[in-house]
């Protein structure tokens, strides 16, 4: 179907189902139950899942296929956000021109950075991309370009936002928050079934549709002759050039495609929340997408989505566990034990969520070099073996 083989089609269908039913899956715990805390089905987080999923999918096209490790991809995300917010400021809140411009601008910037950085390979390439991104971060954070030109371009650390006195030449009587031809991103439907409550936000579904499209496009790229060439670059560049192939434009194309994915993600961030801040371009954010990709499973199709979801869930849910909550949870224990447990747990929750993150990175990398996807495959194969002992199952290559 859709030019995909059976396995890929079912993978795509899985992602489609996951995206469409995320509001239900993520709010699986009844609203008033003790586990409701673990629900992630609120608009902002779901949108972030989808947006960072797109970001990571794009990054994986570069890193997973060609093996070129860019340490500055957040720059394209930031550039995309700035472009989108500028469209809001100049035209109106319609997200379509904003998204188009963010993809285009991110694409152009990635052509320049890619063209220069790809003159080097290995860690030299990584550091070049890092240097470019850090430079762009500094420039955005203090609005250096704006200062050189005597205008406000990024609005410094406050972040670029929309003011009532912005031109917005097409605004008219249109909505005053981001919308797609009148369909406001902030709108949502709420479904209550018994003790459950599910929120279906418009903004999320827009992100989800784009995530599905991005995912579909990435499958097509993975399976295309072009994708094969990219994998060839990762495998053996010498053979590549002696087979008559010029690896440079292939890598550059991959770099630009992944830059455009990042631009789309950045534009979506701004479309969901019309503000663009320089922190989006900081090196830790570039590192985060590397981590998402590796955590999920580098070079696999679905890994980046899983990785992005895991990281964003931890960042948004675990960081909200405060000591009061922990005391509530452990209140069934005798007091001394309760305090001991709370003390122990507080290292990993609330302000200690970074610790949990660090531990997770280490565990996954040490025990599951193929990322969460490999973990899933291991589980699945064990399950299958248990089911039918006589059929020996080979470990499927990570895909």
């Amino acid at each position: 179907m859709l030019g995909l083989n059976k396995k890929d089609t079912s993978l795509l269908m899985f992602v489609v189902a996951l995206s469409l039913f995320a509001p239900i899956i993520l709010n699986i715990f009844p609203k008033d139950s003790g586990f409701a805390f673990f629900n992630g089905g609120y608009p902002d987080l779901m949108q972030r899942f989808a947006i960072f999923g797109i970001f990571a999918i794009g990054f994986n096209i570069l890193f997973g296929l060609t093996g070129y490790l860019s340490f500055g991809h957040a720059a394209f995300l930031g550039v995309g956000s700035y472009a989108a917010v500028w469209m809001f400021k100049l035209l109106n809140y319609n997200i379509l021109p904003a998204l188009i411009l963010s993809v285009v601008v991110a694409g152009l910037v990635s052509v320049v950075i890619g063209w220069i950085s790809l003159r080097r390979s290995g860690i030299y390439f990584s550091i070049l991309t890092l240097a470019f991104a850090q430079m762009m971060y500094a420039i955005a954070y203090s609005d250096l370009f704006g200062r050189w030109m005597g205008i406000t371009l990024t609005n410094g650390e406050t972040g670029l936002q929309i003011y009532n006195n912005d031109p917005q030449i097409l605004l008219g009587n249109g909505p005053t928050s981001p919308h797609l031809f009148g369909l406001e991103m902030g709108a949502r439907k709420v479904l209550s079934i018994g003790p459950w409550e599910f929120v279906f936000p418009v903004g999320y579904y827009l992100c989800a549709i784009l995530l599905i499209l991005s995912f579909y496009l990435s499958i097509r790229i993975f399976r295309s002759p072009f994708g094969l060439m990219l994998r060839a670059i990762k495998s053996n560049q010498t053979r590549m050039s002696y087979t008559g192939l010029n690896s440079k434009p292939y890598t550059l194309a991959a770099f630009v495609i992944s830059g455009m994915y990042a631009g789309l993600a950045g534009g979506l961030l701004a479309a969901m929340d019309p503000l663009a801040g320089a922190e989006r371009m900081y090196w830790t954010e570039s590192g985060a997408v590397v981590i998402m990709t590796i955590l999920g499973g580098v070079g696999t199709l679905i890994g980046p989505i899983l990785g992005a979801g895991t990281i964003k869930y931890m960042e948004n849910i675990i960081s909200k566990m405060n000591e009061k909550l922990l005391h509530d949870w452990f209140s069934f224990l005798p007091e001394s034990l309760e305090y001991a447990m709370v003390w122990l747990a507080s290292w990993f929750t609330g302000e200690g969520w970074h610790m949990t993150q660090g531990v997770l990175f280490m565990l996954v990398i040490i025990f599951l070099p193929g990322g969460l996807v490999q973990g899933g495959q291991k589980l699945a194969s064990r399950f299958r073996r248990n089911k039918a002992d006589d059929t020996a199952t080979n470990a499927t290559p990570a895909e």
Binding site: I221, S224, L228, M229, N236, M240, S241, Y242, T243, A253
Partner: protein, 251 residues
């Protein structure tokens, strides 16, 4: 006029004269071997043919066009394919995928943005690749991980990739180096078969005299970066200068 014409090539590395006044002509549809002791400059010379090195002086013409200053992929697109001493294949990919890449490179040139095209629509390419694998007797292994094959099979795959591009000149850099005897003989048979069945020019650098004399129509002996003699295999065998410079040493 040969298909590959090397004229007055000199190359120095610092104080070392790696190549001195090399003149060489490889005739079309022949198998030309370049032999010589270690350090004679064989690999340096080969690297000058494929764009990896640029000689200090002299010219290297392929089919009337200079190859100097061109990149390896441009030279490959001109019709020169190279087989390496240690097989260079795409180890992360399957055997079939290795072949597909070579076939695409032949058809689409050095770069083509076929990013969303479907492999299913590339029936011709796949058939061509599979056909070549069949010819090489590797069709059963087409879905194998190429890095996990034996050295002989890796060599076979590498040659298959080169042949699938229908090169006019095939450069072989010690194709049997480091191989077991059986693998060596298989490779010789394979090369013989290729030579007999195809309109192809082969230039081979080799250490192993058994291989050289099984294949070559013409032999150039390099010593200290300079051609000592160029002649037919029978005459080379009997040439005392060669014996002194090379064979005697090897014996």
């Amino acid at each position: 006029m040969g298909i590959l014409e090397v004229k007055n090539v000199n190359k120095r590395f610092g104080g070392l004269q790696a190549l001195g006044d090399v003149n060489l002509s490889v005739k079309e549809n022949s198998c030309h071997a370049i032999i010589g002791p270690n350090g004679a400059g064989k690999s340096t010379l080969l690297n000058c043919f494929v764009g990896k090195l640029i000689p200090d002086t002299g010219s290297v013409m392929f089919d009337g066009q200079s190859v100097l200053g061109r990149t390896p992929y441009e030279i490959n697109q001109m019709g020169i394919s190279r087989v390496f001493q240690t097989p260079e294949i795409f180890g992360d990919l399957t055997v079939l995928e290795n072949m597909l890449i070579a076939c695409f490179a032949k058809r689409d040139g050095a770069f083509r943005m076929h990013a969303v095209e479907n492999m299913h629509n590339e029936r011709d390419i796949v058939e061509k690749a599979e056909h070549m694998l069949e010819e090489m007797g590797m069709i059963d292994q087409k879905d194998d991980h190429s890095a996990s094959m034996s050295r002989g099979n890796k060599r076979r795959l590498e040659i298959a990739m080169c042949l699938s591009q229908d090169p006019r000149l095939l450069l072989l850099d010690e194709p049997t180096a480091g191989m077991a005897r059986a693998d060596t003989n298989n490779t010789i048979d394979l090369l013989k078969q290729i030579k007999d069945e195809r309109d192809i020019t082969i230039a081979i650098i080799e250490h192993d005299m058994h291989v050289v004399f099984s294949l070559a129509d013409r032999i150039t002996v390099l010593a200290q970066g300079t051609p000592l003699v160029e002649d037919d295999p029978e005459n080379i065998k009997g040439n005392p200068k060669v014996r002194e410079a090379y064979l005697g040493e090897a014996a």
